[in-house]
């Protein structure tokens, strides 16, 4: 997806994990995905470089669709769609 498409997504759940270091953001995502429905979009905010690598790999294993990442100033917004 393009950055504009990511920005226009209708996000069901936003997880702000900027206060934690790896593995915090991935586990926050893991816990939050159980709270949304299949097809819902989740946004994970992380200031940890590792998360933007971890989340796509984790999505692939779990079957969720990784949609893309927006690099903000000092943190990342990572988007995925629950399977």
């Amino acid at each position: 997806m393009t950055i504009d498409e990511l920005k226009n997504l209708e996000v069901t759940k936003s997880v702000d994990a900027r206060g934690t270091a790896c593995p915090g953001p991935l586990l926050e995502a893991k816990k939050a995905i159980g709270l949304i429905k299949p097809g819902d979009i989740m946004e994970v905010l992380s200031a940890d470089e590792g998360t933007k690598v971890d989340v796509p790999k984790w999505c692939k294993k779990q079957g969720h669709d990784y949609l893309g990442t927006i690099d903000e100033n000092g943190y990342f917004k990572i988007y995925l769609q629950k399977k």
């Binding site: 934690t20 270091a21 593995p23 915090g24 991935l26 586990l27 893991k30 816990k31 779990q62 079957g63």
Partner: protein, 141 residues
């Protein structure tokens, strides 16, 4: 994805390596892995009820002179303690913690109640071998 199994032979009783084990457990929890942890020799001391998260009673495996700096840095980064990592992993996925009977006795613990509540049972070494034979990933820390 089919849940895989991780078997961890946890030998260390040092706070730095226990923290590393906790981080790895988080990764396993994110993947819904089944985890068996076998608490061996030095690790059994850390699991004693009167020790656990009391880092003043735990050594460092490496850079012992930098223990205070290490712990302060983890705190600044809002990183969980090793016990908190283990507890969180247990809440998310199927993690069983087995205390080796011999290891427990070495440190004065012969029954489950002598150890922190995360421990599930006291076991013999063949339980570890059986779990290791069945596991997809085997680690020794």
């Amino acid at each position: 994805m089919e849940a895989k199994k991780l078997c961890l032979a946890l030998y260390t009783g040092s706070v730095d390596k226990l923290t590393a084990a906790g981080v790895i457990l988080s990764g396993a929890a994110a993947d819904d892995m089944e985890v068996d942890i076998y608490v061996l020799l030095q690790a059994a001391r850390a699991f004693r009820k009167d020790i656990g998260d009391d880092s003043s009673k735990l050594a460092m495996a490496e850079n012992p002179d930098l223990k205070d700096e290490f712990l302060q840095s983890l705190k600044n980064l809002n990183v969980k303690t090793w016990v908190e990592f283990f507890k969180e992993a247990k809440e998310i996925t199927d993690v069983k913690i087995h205390i080796c009977g011999l290891a427990g006795k070495v440190w004065g613990g012969s029954k489950l109640d002598d150890f922190i509540s995360l421990a599930d049972d006291i076991c013999g070494i063949n339980a570890y071998i059986t779990s290791a034979q069945e596991a997809d990933i085997n680690l020794f820390i």
